[in-house]
Symmetry: C2
Subunit: 265 residues, 2 copies
């Protein structure tokens, strides 16, 4: 059974893309087949995974707006043979307005992903263990599509004050999607990111999140580490860029925890 994780948080800059890319890379390094779907018009995940996404490249845009098949737009990441990516291009930035008046505007990604995974399931070696969907910093139709397509929600939370402000709205949106569009959706994972243990603020935010979400919040926290932010400029994840760095260790640890949880952890 393929796990489909939607990485979302309307607060900007909290580590959605960094988490998507590095958890995906760590799972791929461990031998699992992973597909990343980049649904952020900025295309940061596509950049970090080293896949071509200049304007006009077949991408998630064609899947949303033209009903293209995922099989026709997916690319293999140069980082691992078992790591694939559906890129996002700038064309996607107009998609939300285009989607508003389209038929089944909230379920277009789900239908495309279901068809792709069903077809893949027949060819054993390409069956995907994980699909991870990176979202833009908003709760618009691109993120709604990602919630409808996913089975689990992974929320990265930066250990900063503003991080807590938008959380209840995010949880409400997940509940709304669960009620009306996707009954299988559940908030399974919260990951604390850019944790700087020298500051009180980080500790306070982390304590508060663990108190409110004791079972969803991973034991592993991701420390602030400059290697993490350098890696994308080399079109790499930190897992391959600097395997011994604190960021790489933490993301490998987080990936292991996520994977263990599925197996009844």
């Amino acid at each position: 059974h393929t796990r489909v994780l939607t990485v979302a948080n309307q607060k900007g800059g909290v580590g959605k893309t960094t988490t998507t890319v590095n958890v995906a890379a760590a799972l791929a390094q461990a031998g699992l087949n992973v597909l990343v779907i980049d649904s952020d018009p900025q295309g940061n995940a596509s950049t970090a995974l080293g896949v071509d996404h200049h304007s006009g490249t077949p991408s998630i845009y064609e899947v949303f707006v033209d009903g293209a098949q995922i099989a026709d737009v997916v690319q293999r990441s140069p980082q691992f043979d078992n790591l694939w990516c559906v890129p996002a291009t700038l064309d996607l930035s107009g998609a939300e307005i285009e989607l508003v008046n389209m038929v089944s505007r909230e379920t277009r990604l789900r239908r495309a992903l279901d068809a792709f995974l069903a077809a893949q399931a027949t060819t054993e070696e390409r069956r995907f263990d994980y699909v991870i969907i990176d979202c833009p910093p908003s709760l618009g139709l691109l993120t709604v599509n990602a919630f409808t397509a996913g089975n689990e929600v992974l929320i990265p939370i930066q250990c900063e004050y503003y991080a807590l402000e938008g959380l209840s709205q995010l949880i409400k949106t997940v509940e709304l999607i669960k009620q009306h569009l996707n009954p299988t959706l559940r908030l399974s994972t919260i990951l604390l990111t850019m944790y700087d243990q020298r500051t009180n603020l980080a500790r306070q935010v982390a304590d508060e999140v663990r108190e409110h979400f004791p079972t969803q919040t991973l034991e592993t926290t991701i420390p602030r580490s400059v290697r993490v932010s350098e890696a994308p400029s080399y079109a790499q994840s930190v897992i391959t860029y600097e395997p011994g760095s604190s960021g790489a260790l933490a993301y490998r640890e987080a990936a292991r925890e996520i994977n263990d949880r599925a197996n009844g952890g």
Copy 2:
């Protein structure tokens, strides 16, 4: 003449709100009349300025969707007598979809602001020197309205790799708005934020931005400083929370540079 600055960048977490709040507070501390318009559904600027913005509070949502007057929703910030704020509430998160099929969907904020400033101009003591509009991390209709209402664009750029990726799209959008909706709009100011001088990455990004935008990029850069991120949890700007911190000094410096530029600097 009132300067209207739109603070925008679709990349999340780059310091849009922090820049809006702290530049506004520094200008107010220097005796200028400042109005902040919060057009981000997260309402982070409203929080940092200490104004009430629970759901249902009269806010920018009513201005966008019901055609309410700004005079009816504006609140004074407890931080300075000459600092005012039009708050954003969670109601705003549905506004973008509501706006799509509305008449003059791109100019609703401009018309409301023009009417407000025209009425204020007759009562001398409340004439505003600055209006600063905080945007959400996207280039949707809320940001388009802010570009149409503004005369200048201020782009905060975090000294990180992803920061450069979305820049050309942002500049193109500003050009598009200038051509079709607001001929007075110009990219006047770029501010480098969260600059950590210990890392090569920050220096490389800063050098690249200064090379491409020599005249718009402020001399002042904002260092990463934990006091800056603590201030909003006390409903304060760093200017009042910790006046002697490196963040407060830098934001006062940036505000002075912005104000000098208008006076033929």
